[in-house]
Amino acid sequence: MTTALANPAEAILFEVSKPGRRCLRLPELDVPKVDIKAALKGAKLRAKPAPLPEVGELDLVRHFKNLAQKNFSVDRNFYPLGSCTMKYNPKINVTLLSLPGFTKAHPHLPEADLQGHIELMVTLEKWLSEISGLPAVTLQPAAGAQGEMTGLMVIKAYFESKGEGKTRTKVIIPDSAHGTNPATAALAGFTPLTLKSTADGSVDLAALKAMIGPDTAAMMITNPSTLGILEPNMVEIAKLLHTAGAQLYMDGANMNAIQGMVRPGDYGVDVMHFNLHKTYSVPHGAGGPGAGPIAVASHLEPYLPTPRPVRNADGTYSLDSKRPDSIGKVRSFFGNYGALVMAYIYMAQLGREGVRRNGENAVLNANYLRAKLRGVYHIQNDKACAHEVVFTDKTQNAEHHISALDIAKRMIDYGIHPMTIYFPQPNVVGGQGAMMVEPTETESKETLDYFVVVMKKIASECKDNPEIVKTAPHTTPVSRVDEKTATTNPQLYCPMCIA
């Protein structure tokens, strides 16, 4: 099949490179030309120019447009990747973000020139505060994982101020949690303790009680959980922790389900993070960027990162860095400001009604899929779900030795991006391969019905034509990819880029 490589559009950039080709030109130099070696006297220079590709503009555009076609994306495909909230990203986000007022906003401009930006940040903080039910917000964390870290750092600083920094060293994390939770706890200098979930995926109160002690700093809880279930005992959980002097951190990656329906602060949550790239339509960007603001209770506010955007009594805006108890900075400047702008534009369009409506429809859509596919795929917890429904491969595996991975790959042939698979981990879903489906509120009933038809078709293929499932996908530019070799014998760069 190597003939495909002969098409220049199929080659990688380094391979189509030819000396002398280029796209961009500089203006004529309007200052005296200098001898580079003399101008940089005392600096060691590189032996050879970097072996970068040389391509013309048409080949460059064609290369990337060709790559574009090899990607599934929300703009072209239903993308029910659970836990990631792959909703539609309104076009106006990127159009307005392209205004020079944003693209050329330099962080070292004088504060007087940044008034509109600081106002935007203050307002966005206020909205997130309103939705979280927690009084203070920082927009600095670049993504959910960095929000988690910031939250735990704030908790740590709080305990240090009370002289309990040395004793409160443990963070309790349910086994169903996203991997970033335990990784963050370790990074923030805590010892993570794993709490086993009950059979229906909620927190085992008795086990939690037994685990909480004087060394507990916090519990990190995801609500709705990664099993797509609303935690019924949030209030009790918060009480248990607070009685023991510990804090409750809520991973708000799944806020899409409960925004406008309940404020986490009302449960007793002390800190939570938002994933603006999930809940508030910041595009996921082939992996990022996102933004992971955190909201905190008032006793934690003094520790938030600086600078804090503030509104002054006279209606002007400032950046306040005089916060002696602050943990410092977690990211340079103001975080992923461009992502914050997109979330702001989106939320301004949603308004109060829209926030509530999004949550309701996200949950409705997920439950509709649960109802329609019940009996076709096994559901560990067949009760009302939140924004996502977790099926497993139990039936298909037992009857036809077909795994969640095979089913996911077969979906691609029907133009649907696979759901999240094997998360939550098998130990949480009875040893089965999880298939976590998050349709989001932006999908129409027709798309959901198509999904149902496809999933039923695949289930019957598992019976009638298992090979077609096991060898899927069949319609993609490449067939099933050997991911093992990618790890055992990694080839991480094109040989031409080392001259």
């Binding site: 500089l26 929300v74 792959m86 050329k104 990784a183 943990i327 301004a348 991006h417 490449v478």
Partner: protein, 465 residues
């Protein structure tokens, strides 16, 4: 209803299929007293939603209360630079939904577009740094440096098992944003961050550095060009770190400098991190852009972040896939090398397009153009009476520090010149110093205007010594 396609009829049908009477029935696990009542206006105090026209107007109103680099002869950098960004980049990365509305390429068969560009991006970073492994991006230069610090600690835990090395040395003038982020990460990890002062030439003080690099140190980082614009002797830092087997990290604030300067690999560093904004990313008040992270292959399994490898499909065709996921949080959980999940891939794509659009020759020309303009700016500004270079004797690339007098900023802004960034707060003895940044966007006319306005502003001021 904005962004929702379900009609009332759809909703009714769906509720029936589910077997509940109302949507709120699906939220029964939330105690009734905590469920927000939309009829109560005191709950959820958010404004009414705006349509596209209104929100566009509103954004224009907000922006009317701002100025940007384009409104001035602009001379500020300090980590974010006022570069030209080709329209090619926005057409591919912003307006075409194929990359921007995809996510992490977990399923390689329908993500070859993303995987291929990440591989090409990694290759470009390898081409620029000479280091064999680059990841798919970090949040920014600052957190990339903090991650390098954490990696240095892990490497040392393996290499120097019983020593329990705990100190991270920052050699010389590191961007204060990077320093602060490193300190925040170090605080909770129980690590010590020590900064070694700069000498008169603006480079790290070699003797002080040699003294600081004891066997308590697991890693040392040097920024080059450093925060003062001065190009460091990275090789000398590598040599100083050798005896005690200290991991050497080079941080790069202006990635364009890699076009001309000795590569991190040639200098012998272990890890090179940096801020990628200057490669095709807009300023956006400092983000999103991305951090890059490249390493010698020795440390591959300790690296943070996603990494893409070339491999094959089952029919033997070339394909790309995520590799070495066992380092990452979704597999390794608390034992992961880092907690990063969502990264800044789209910004890395922008960098790749930028690099390819300038190409091998153009990228060098861009750097040379910058050097020429920087030299012109130095000669022009230091010919203003009372103004001189703060550091002499070591080369600079795109930034330099002038010594003038404090309090010039406002006078220059009035003349539509955003002069160099005042360094008064950066450290002791920096009163009246300004960090001046040049890019290809800077014109001779801008520089002349700066010099003129500076001359005016300096009139009658005591001459700096």
């Amino acid at each position: 209803m904005p962004f929702i396609q379900n009609t009332d009829a759809d909703r009714a049908e769906m509720l029936k299929a589910i077997g509940v009477g109302s949507i709120e029935d699906l939220f029964k696990d939330i105690p009734a007293n905590l469920r927000l009542k939309m009829s109560d206006a005191s709950m959820l105090k958010l404004p009414k939603g705006k349509g596209e026209l209104e929100v566009t107007r509103h954004i224009h109103e907000l922006l009317a209360k701002t100025k940007n680099a384009g409104d001035y002869a602009y001379f500020r950098g300090g980590g974010i630079y006022n570069h030209f960004v080709s329209t090619l980049i926005d057409h591919i990365a912003l307006y075409d939904g194929s990359f921007i509305t995809a996510y992490t390429p977990y399923q390689p068969e329908c993500s070859q577009g993303t995987l291929t560009f990440i591989y090409e991006f990694q290759s470009s970073i390898t081409a620029l740094t000479g280091l064999e492994v680059a990841n798919a991006s970090m949040y920014d230069g600052a957190s990339a440096l903090a991650e390098a610090m954490m990696m240095g600690k892990h490497v040392s835990e393996d290499r120097h098992r019983k020593e329990n090395r705990n100190t991270f040395v920052l050699a010389g003038a590191v961007n204060p944003e990077y320093l602060q982020v490193c300190k925040t990460y170090a605080d909770v990890a129980g690590l010590k961050v020590v900064q070694v002062a700069t000498g008169a030439d603006g480079r790290v003080d070699g003797q002080a550095l040699a003294k600081a690099l004891t066997r308590k140190v697991f890693a040392v980082a040097v920024q080059s060009p450093n925060y003062l614009g001065v190009i460091e002797d990275v090789e000398a830092v590598v040599a100083a770190a050798k005896e005690n087997e200290i991991l050497v990290v080079q941080a790069v604030g202006e990635a364009l400098s890699l076009a001309l300067l000795q590569t991190p690999a040639e200098a012998g560093v272990d890890v090179c991190v940096g801020e990628g904004q200057s490669l095709g990313n807009h300023q956006f008040l400092g983000g999103p852009a991305f951090g890059f992270f490249a390493s010698k292959k020795d440390w591959l399994r300790k690296m943070p972040g996603r990494i893409v490898s070339e491999t094959k499909d089952k029919d033997g065709r070339r394909a790309f896939a995520l590799a070495l996921a066992t380092r990452e949080q979704h597999i390794r959980r608390e034992k992961a090398t880092s907690n990063i999940c969502t990264n800044q891939s789209l910004c890395a794509l922008r960098a790749l397009i930028h690099i390819a659009a300038w190409g091998k020759q153009g990228f060098v020309e861009l750097a040379e153009h910058t050097v020429a303009k920087t030299q012109y700016a130095i000669s022009k500004l230091t010919s203003v009476p009372g103004v001189k270079l703060a550091h002499t004797g070591a080369p600079v690339f795109n930034e330099f520090v002038i010594q003038a007098v404090p309090g010039l900023e406002k006078k220059l802004l009035k003349k539509k010149v955003a002069g160099g960034l005042p360094l008064d707060k950066y450290g002791k003895g920096r009163r009246g110093q300004y960090l001046v940044a040049i890019t290809e966007v800077t014109t001779k006319a801008d520089i002349d205007r700066y010099a003129e306005a500076l001359t005016e502003a300096m009139k009658g001021k005591p001459v700096a010594v």
